[in-house]
Symmetry: C2
Subunit: 344 residues, 2 copies
């Protein structure tokens, strides 16, 4: 048996309706709401075929049908050719990003909020990340007599900071001098290289071994657990609005997953070079997410670093709308991080 044009149209109608209502959809609904010029009986026959082909599931015999993961896959791959976003929505996105929001973390946070409030799903935004961050500047700032704040700025604009011990008296001028030497010596190095070159530097900065030792520890640390830049999650509570999560246990395991930032980042950062990626249900590879879908999009900076924005929602997600929104916001972010801030 093959899937023909008519089956496809019916399948699309079923998916559309199910996405809208979340209720198993019956043959009568299709024949009335989406005027196909066919009676419910005919639709019924086709639906039976579609079930046999694996595109529909039936929760129980007297209920309607629900689309399977395979159906969504087909839907996303072929039915959804050009997802245009409504204009009002586009302009409202622009408005949401207007005003002077520059703080890098704020942009990320804000993006997550905007995406989640537009889609009513959960949004995740990962800051740009290159392959190997390279040091631009190292700066030591006195905090107390015994401690200093070390700030490392890398070419990814990612700042790592930590309080370290400095031995005894050391005024801010001395620290400033050390900072300059360190910056001169280490600019352009990766964290790994910086660690390796520590011994060589210690000759140039005599008598400050404690500082260098602490610094090295800090760098090692920063490299072992590579800071994933920043991650923002928004709208986790949105998910509770869907009947799929009226079961508290399900909701709990979902939320708990959203809280384990590391795991979540790995899941979201799944897409290699693809600009868009849609993973449906089991395709996510995460057991807790068999009835979720993940849509991710990449945005990039001139420096070639790549960030990710993503939406997590129920499998019956409004894929078309989500893709459009991610597309627009991805471009906005790309523009912003490249400094083409067209909102001014």
């Amino acid at each position: 048996m093959d899937i023909d044009e008519r089956k496809l149209r019916i399948l699309q109608a079923i998916i559309d309706d199910y996405i809208l209502t979340g209720v198993p959809v019956g043959s009568r609904t299709i024949s009335k709401k989406y005027d196909m010029g066919l009676s419910s009986a005919t639709i019924r026959n086709e639906m039976s075929d579609l079930e046999e082909l694996g595109f529909l599931d039936q929760p129980h015999v007297s209920a309607g049908r629900i689309p399977s993961a395979k159906a969504y896959r087909l839907y996303v791959d072929t039915l959804l050719k050009t997802g245009r976003i409504p204009d009002d929505s586009e302009s409202s996105i622009q408005r949401l990003f207007s005003g002077r929001i520059h703080q890098m973390e704020d942009v990320i946070d804000h993006a997550a909020q905007v995406i989640s409030s537009l889609t009513h799903y959960t949004a995740v935004v990962l800051s740009p990340k290159g392959i190997q961050p390279r040091i631009q500047t190292i700066q030591l700032v006195p905090v107390s007599a015994e401690t200093a704040l070390v700030v490392v700025v890398t070419d990814q604009g990612i700042v790592r900071d930590s309080v370290i011990h400095i031995g005894g008296q050391m005024d801010s001028d001395t620290l400033y001098a050390i900072s300059r030497t360190l910056t001169e010596e280490l600019r352009g190095s990766t964290l790994q290289e910086a660690c390796d070159r520590m011994p060589a530097i210690s000759e140039r900065i005599s008598g400050n071994n404690l500082v260098l030792q602490e610094l090295r520890g800090f760098l090692t640390e920063g490299q072992r657990s590579p800071r994933r830049g920043h991650m923002a999650v928004g709208g986790t509570s949105n998910m509770l609005a869907y009947p799929e999560y009226s079961d508290v246990d399900k909701a709990r395991s979902f939320l708990s997953l959203m809280e384990t930032r590391d795991k979540l980042a790995d899941i979201i950062r799944g897409n290699g070079e693809m600009s868009f990626m849609v993973r449906i249900g089991p395709e996510t590879g995460v057991p807790e997410m068999t009835d979720c879908s993940i849509v991710t999009a990449a945005y990039s900076t001139k420096g070639g670093q790549q960030g990710t924005i993503g939406v997590i929602g129920p499998t019956r997600m409004q894929y078309s709308r989500v893709l459009s929104i991610l597309n627009v916001i991805g471009h906005q972010l790309t523009d912003m991080f490249n400094g083409d801030d067209d909102t001014k």
Copy 2:
């Protein structure tokens, strides 16, 4: 009618039991589980009195009693004199903070996680915050030909960063020079003062008006919406485990509140100079939290800045345990931020 010693003991037993089980507690339970040497009938009489005094509520006539907010208040204020934390727990806390975790944000995040996993409630940690941050260093780092990253370090160790436009060609040496001048001029200023002094500085840095203009915008921004340092929230999903939140709508409104970071920070940062603060139910002043309690504790740094750690849980919270844990972790954080890192 007065509350005497015996009533107090009975009330304590009721509260203990209700905290443990979450189920309205009856007279028989008290007389059997907590051997008072009294029959259920006597307890019943006392409970009736306690209800009249406003310490107990009765969901319906054939159910047991549950403690009122007033009862918890009494409990927290008087019954709970010395909350000692079990030793194993204390050492396990120490273990959780071992290893080199120095990155300031990581400490905050980690603390939230530790607190939530120890208490099984929701934890919030706010980074230290002084009254008026003062500029320590300003650094411009080239990002592209047209843009630069500006990093401002304040005496609170809080870093603000943003990408700004710089006009045309400007190599990193020029930027470095400007950074030094800016730092010299503005060190010790508050953000407000820095804005005011911008015109004066523009004389010293000629021909770079765009940079100064952008910088000023950034500073104004940073001051208008005072960055609350960093805030970490952990264990929001823990709350769903309590029967109080088996109602999805309640859970949703709670989670949604946890997501509005600004509001949440304001709520948590409620305690002025107090080292500990317990707000029970309506005392929180937040309508969505009438059946929550908030326990907060302050920790501080040598610089006199003050951070807050807090736990949000159902009103029937294990106050004693929570206070102990906050106490220990508060000290740990104080130590850490002062550099007395005793875990090495």
